[in-house]
């Protein structure tokens, strides 16, 4: 196309040159033809040329101008071509720069710059641009990562502080929540929280309060002494310890893949205001990033202050509990004291009750008994009115006297014996004879009781006595009359005995007679029990008397007879009025069940309160031979 264009240009300029030459020729002809000279001559056209030979020159003008135009155009075309080449080159460069920038825009920072002359200004600035962009991008990447890490940390801390806020007042739970969160959030393999504790002895030690997948080889128990091992060092230095070169026997991580040594261990002290509360230990298969370490350190800080708060809370609540217990104890003690007082009061009242009772008894004794008190040697200490009345003394007369004055001379040895016994703590009880002021003898029923104090010493003897003189006199009288009576009684008894004997023999005689009678004879008592059954009766009934005696007489009759026969009914029934003194015929029933008609005659006898009935029975059946 550009070619065509250049030809067009040469053509155009050649044509324009030819045309200009023609115009010049025509003008020249015109001018010359109109000239006076020519006009005046009136010559032909040829004449003109002859007249003006210069016209020949004018006639070649179109060719000349055409050639000039052609070459001029050619020169132009050459310049244009050159110019166009230059333009093309420029355009090419712009395209490359454009592509490059486009690439940069799309983020392909690694594209090489295809410009040979890097020294050229554009190249250089492009290089600078590229470097700038690369740097920018790296920075941006870095910022993004940092931003992410920052977000991770902030989010983590926010969640963590939520956990701390919601923590109960229980160190185990709190520790577990802390380690659980740390291990999960940081995607660590295992971890534990050691809290500092103090023994009663004052020794400090670390106690593994909570752990996730923890398996310490070296420390089977969960306590570590202050300053011992890495945990101890971490606490001692109050510095984070980060280990990537983990000793083989330090810790293993147990996972689904078995046991393995961790690649990194991180220990962070739990400290508030430089005070150590414990250590967090984390173990991982991955290395810890600095921001992770920083995160753990931050959480450790807030954990420590929460732990310290919880510790204080626990202490406070313990204190509170203690105070409560104390208060409870006090109210318990108050109740106990009150009960003690009640017991004392009840005891006192009971004692008073018995004291009143005692007083009553003592008053009664004073009224009823002869009472005195004396010392162990017999010296009187006190006496009551009854005493004075019985012995017929005035009080003044016996004050300070000895018991002896109430004894008959020959009774004195008895007194000494009694006093000796009393001194040994024995009581005395018995009937004694005493002498009153007028020298009469009196009889007393006496009890002497030693009164013993708490030390077991006898303080005095208490004497209670009853005047039984009358009784004694009466008894003596009685004894005498009893003796008389005895003789009389003996006589009477003998007489009665004799009578009994007689009665017995009469009875036997009678029974013998009855026994021997031909009539059957039975005797019953009031109740109808058979008392006597003679041989004739045995024959009649066929019973042996042993079978009948002691039984009720109704066994000797049939039931029918007992119901229907008036005589038999009244005879066998206790308390019925019986038919006495009249002969009556009635059937008896013998041992074999046969009924035999017989004649009865019933007689009644009374000895004292004892009624008895005797029936005489004759067989009316005529025996046929």
């Amino acid at each position: 196309m550009k070619r065509i264009k250049t030809r067009q240009i040469t053509n155009k300029y050649t044509v324009r040159g030819v045309f200009f030459g023609i115009v010049f020729l025509a003008l020249s002809v015109l001018i010359t033809s109109n000239s006076y000279l020519f006009v005046s001559q009136k010559g032909t056209f040829n004449d003109l040329f002859k007249m003006y030979p210069g016209l020949w020159l004018a006639a070649v003008m179109p060719i000349a101008f055409g050639i000039i135009g052609y070459y001029l155009a050619k020169g132009f075309v050459k310049i244009i071509k050159k110019q166009q080449q230059l333009l093309n080159k420029e355009a090419q460069r712009s395209q490359i720069v454009f592509d490059f920038i486009e690439n940069l825009r799309q983020g392909n920072l690694e594209t090489a710059i295809p410009i040979e002359q890097e020294t050229d200004k554009l190249g250089q600035s492009l290089y600078r641009l590229k470097d700038f962009l690369i740097k920018n991008k790296l920075e941006e990447e870095q910022r993004r990562i940092e931003e992410e890490q920052r977000n991770w940390v902030t989010q983590g801390l926010a969640q963590f502080s939520e956990i701390l806020r919601n923590s109960s007042d229980n160190l185990e739970n709190l520790s577990y929540n802390i380690i659980h969160y740390l291990v999960n959030y940081s995607k660590i393999n295992q971890g534990g929280v050691y809290l500092l504790n103090t023994k009663i002895s004052g020794d400090k030690y670390f106690e593994l309060k909570a752990c996730i997948a923890f398996d310490r080889k070296k420390f089977t128990d969960k306590t570590i002494l202050w300053g011992e091992g890495l945990i101890g060092r971490c606490a001692l230095e109050k510095q984070t310890i980060y280990l990537t070169d983990v000793p083989n026997d330090y810790i293993t991580i147990t996972s689904g893949l078995g046991e393995a040594n961790p690649r990194a261990i991180l220990m962070v002290p739990l400290k508030v205001n430089e005070e150590i509360h414990g250590v967090i230990e984390l173990a991982s298969f991955n290395l810890f990033q600095p921001y992770e370490i920083a995160f753990v350190e931050k959480t450790a800080e807030s954990s420590a202050s929460t732990i310290s708060n919880v510790k204080i809370n626990i202490q406070t609540s313990n204190l509170l509990k203690e105070t409560q217990i104390q208060a409870e104890k006090m109210s318990q003690q108050e109740e106990e004291l009150r009960q003690n007082l009640e017991e004392m009061q009840a005891t006192q009242e009971e004692s008073e009750r018995t004291a009143i009772e005692m007083k009553g008894i003592i008053e009664a004794i004073d009224h009823a008994a002869i009472n005195c008190e004396f010392e162990t040697d017999g010296t009187l200490i006190s006496v009551n009115k009854n005493f004075l009345k019985t012995f017929k003394y005035n009080l003044e007369e016996i004050e300070g006297q000895n018991l002896r004055i109430f004894f008959f001379k020959n009774d004195l040895p008895e007194l000494d014996k009694i006093l000796a016994d009393l001194k040994n703590g024995h009581n005395f009880k018995g009937r004694v004879r005493r002498r009153n002021k007028t020298g009469e003898e009196i009889y007393l029923l006496s009890t002497y009781t030693p009164v013993i104090d708490n030390e077991g010493e006898i303080i005095k003897i208490l004497s209670l006595e009853n005047d039984v003189t009358d009784q004694v006199k009466m008894e003596e009288e009685l004894k005498r009359s009893k003796e008389e009576l005895g003789i009389l009684l003996e006589e009477a008894r003998n007489e009665v005995k004799e009578q009994f004997r007689e009665m017995e023999s009469v009875k036997i005689r009678n029974e013998k007679t009855l026994e021997g009678a031909l009539d059957a004879i039975i005797t019953t008592d009031k109740e109808g029990t058979v008392q006597f059954f003679n041989i004739a009766a045995e024959k009649l009934w066929g019973y042996d008397r042993q079978e009948v005696l002691g039984n009720n007489v109704s066994m000797l009759f049939s039931a029918d007879t007992i119901i229907n026969d008036e005589f038999v009914r009244t005879f066998v029934t206790a308390d019925e009025k019986k038919v006495v003194g009249e002969r009556r015929e009635a059937p008896i029933k013998n041992k074999y069940g046969d009924e035999i008609p017989v004649l009865f005659l019933l007689s009644e006898a009374q000895v004292g309160l004892e009624h008895s009935f005797t029936a005489f029975i004759q067989n009316v059946e005529v025996e046929l031979f």
């Binding site: 106990e336 009150r338 009960q339 003690n340 009640e342 017991e343 009061q345 009840a346 005891t347 009242e349 009971e350 004692s351 009750r353 018995t354 009880k429």
Partner: protein, 280 residues
């Protein structure tokens, strides 16, 4: 409503009869309860009728459970010499603590039986009306600070009477587990299972065991009863004692009514006599 009327209501609506308790004492205890619960007798009656648990609490509140290890130390000396020594030849010894409270009296006794080597053949029953104190008794755990003194007092008295007593001293550690930090004094475990603790109300008469006893302790219980109730309780004891069995009452308690003649005195104790006749 008077407190006496209240006691009759209590008797009507609950198994408990305090109507024959000693007037003054029961009145003071009831007053204390009223003060504590801020109630009138009428309100107390309402609660009593409608609330069984409250009644149990009331029994706990009313009863006086004062007791001690080796309470009245002298008595225990005398007890060892005049009662236990005589029984030591027996095949078997049966003892009843009536109104045993928190069991200190029971364990005091067990310790002495142990010291004399006759623990094995002894059977010990202990009763109280108050469920709460019985529970404490079965646990045998007491406050060290409150009890150590009375035990030490007894030990001192024992040691002072070395020459004429069968038990010369008592080793604290042998009979008690002591934890001073917890203020705890626990009787040796071997004693815990020995006594049979049972809830029993003396007023109700019927005894929850068939046995007759060689020794009955009923110390500082009768002081809370009026005379007629005392006499009734004494009859129960008399009925449940073997001939020559010993009744041990509190220091200020004595026999009432006809029981004065059915027991003989043996020092501070009462021995059931086999004679029912008044001895002149």
């Amino acid at each position: 409503m008077t407190y006496k009327e209240y006691l009759l209501e209590l008797k009507k609506y609950s198994p408990y009869d305090f109507s024959e308790y000693s007037d003054n004492s029961i009145q003071r205890r009831l007053q204390k309860v009223l003060d504590e619960y801020k109630m009138t007798l009428e309100e107390l009656r309402e609660r009593t009728i409608n609330d069984n648990l409250f009644v149990e609490q009331l029994v706990n509140d009313i009863t006086v459970n004062t007791t001690d290890f080796f309470r009245d130390a002298d008595i225990w000396l005398e007890y060892v010499e005049t009662v236990l020594n005589k029984l030591s030849a027996r095949q078997q010894i049966k003892i009843w603590h009536a109104g045993s409270s928190t069991g200190k009296e029971v364990y005091s006794n067990l310790i002495l039986l142990d010291e004399l080597g006759i623990l094995k053949k002894t059977q010990v029953f202990a009763t109280d009306i108050n469920q709460q104190v019985l529970k404490e008794a079965t646990q045998g755990t007491y406050r060290y600070s409150n009890n150590i003194k009375s035990i030490e007092t007894y030990i001192k008295i024992l040691e002072a009477n070395k020459d004429n007593s069968s038990i010369k001293s008592i080793n604290l550690e042998k009979h008690f587990n002591i934890n001073i930090a917890n203020d705890q004094l626990k009787v040796n475990n071997k004693y815990l299972s020995l006594p049979i603790f049972k809830k029993h109300d003396l007023v109700q008469g019927a005894i929850p065991f068939e046995e007759k006893f060689d020794i009955i302790f009923c110390r500082n219980v009768l002081i809370y009863f009026n005379t007629s109730l005392q006499t009734r309780i004494l009859k129960i004891f008399h009925d449940h004692l073997n001939t020559s069995g010993v009744l041990i009452l509190g220091n200020h308690e004595g026999l009432t009514g006809f029981f004065k003649t059915r027991f003989n005195r043996l020092g501070s104790f009462f021995v059931k006599s086999n004679s029912f006749h008044f001895k002149y």
